[in-house]
Symmetry: C2
Subunit: 310 residues, 2 copies
Amino acid sequence: MGSSALCHYSIKKGAAFLGLGTDSVRVVKADERGKMIPEDLERQICLAKAEGAVPFLVSATSGTTVLGAFDPLEAVADVCQRHGLWLHVDAAWGGSALLSQTHRHLLDGIHRADSVAWNPHKLLAAGLQCSALLLRDTTNLLKHCHGSQASYLFQQDKFYDVALDTGDKVVQCGRRVDCLKLWLMWKAQGGQGLERRVDQAFALARYLVEEMKKREGFELVMEPEFVNVCFWFLPPSLRGEQKSLDYSERLAKVAPVLKERMVKEGSMMIGYQPHGTRGNFFRMIVANPALTQADMRFLLDELERLGQDL
Amino acid sequence: MGSSALCHYSIKKGAAFLGLGTDSVRVVKADERGKMIPEDLERQICLAKAEGAVPFLVSATSGTTVLGAFDPLEAVADVCQRHGLWLHVDAAWGGSALLSQTHRHLLDGIHRADSVAWNPHKLLAAGLQCSALLLRDTTNLLKHCHGSQASYLFQQDKFYDVALDTGDKVVQCGRRVDCLKLWLMWKAQGGQGLERRVDQAFALARYLVEEMKKREGFELVMEPEFVNVCFWFLPPSLRGEQKSLDYSERLAKVAPVLKERMVKEGSMMIGYQPHGTRGNFFRMIVANPALTQADMRFLLDELERLGQDL
């Protein structure tokens, strides 16, 4: 099992849960933008084989949680093909970009995946939870994996084609029909409506970035390629102090204070986190289709107001 | 891992999913009412140990899916105590009986369990999904098991006690706050309101049983001790035919036909299943607090109407 250093933590968690153990997950190097390095993937696969391990799955990420990075799927798929490995794409966050003609190129190569995970409850704002697992396999793989044929629940002597019953394919038993939410939303909004949602999120993220550049209290972690806008707020006391020895330490303490203030005031909620060697920075995600440019300006004004005495 | 022959299929599924394998689940014998036989449990534990296996968990069931049977928890707990085994009680279905002063005796001994699973979305009719796992352990066991300390999601530098954050304890990542539904319902209905719900379900099930006994077309699988009313509908052509050689075979074909008819008419939905050596029988569950005795009579009238030509 190989995955990038910036993959979602659920990959290791899943390996633990399945009894494979977290050590069976090999972490592949990512570049400074958070994208998996295909050359390192191939190196790790060869290394694992040399050690007697049996690699079987590569999990690439389309839209990492913090930076919103897209792994280079074509190159990763080439590696998987050479070594006969299952290619899984965790597109939980970024998969919705496929609905946009303008932005779908971020996922070029996803058609070569053996399995894809996608959460319409993220960028498309379908109600929690709405998760899809798409498989290339057409032999009813999930049934082979999870089917338990409990005769008291999954009766076979019905008057319709029981292949339509999906209950025995899933891990859980009693669960909501999550796909109905997506289906209804799709019917109501149309493909174009969903595309507009995606395009608008990209456009608002871009607007937010441009507005930040006009103000002296904001520093981008990097230019976003997706809708994750990662930035530091620099309070007045830290501006121009970039060269002082304790700058990073002091900067890392800013986001928690601002988060506390915004939560207590009830004005907004923006998550923050450290990441690699970077201290706490905010990660603003624009997914709500009702948001406007005015909301983006409010966000910046509010951070300036809450942090003016720091 | 020991479990009764009538345990929910999720026990075996869970063993498969965790990498233990389904063979590690030893099936303990149940009596004719579906209750685990504690003497057989002890025999199986000794047998497993003699074979070099290391038993570690017994899963008892409070309210089996089909018959609604309650395992004798005091006797099962005695066995677990003697052998130092973890006692899990699957009270997903029957746990709500604890809210009733009249019926809680069905779960006598549950206070000795190490863990209990309970689904308020079943008998209490909380919205799907609402599942609780109750643990005797107070050392934050779920965090030890599932915690992944993903620093980008579970920040520790917050202004409140981060022990209140439950996200890192669970298997999934993004998920709904299911307990809110239960909390709101409890606040709205009160303990007495929930008790009334449980007592009413028992009373309606009892009413249905008594009404069935007055009609010639119905045969109980057994007297229910819970709210599962298991019965066969005997169409006119089968009445008095109990001694014919193909009676069981013909009887087993009745429920699927009636189910098809009720589904197509849209008048009601009652599940059926075979169980052990018993052919297809209906299992009527009265959980909706809005149901009345008139609904129970409608159910019987409708089955008679739909099956009069069979």
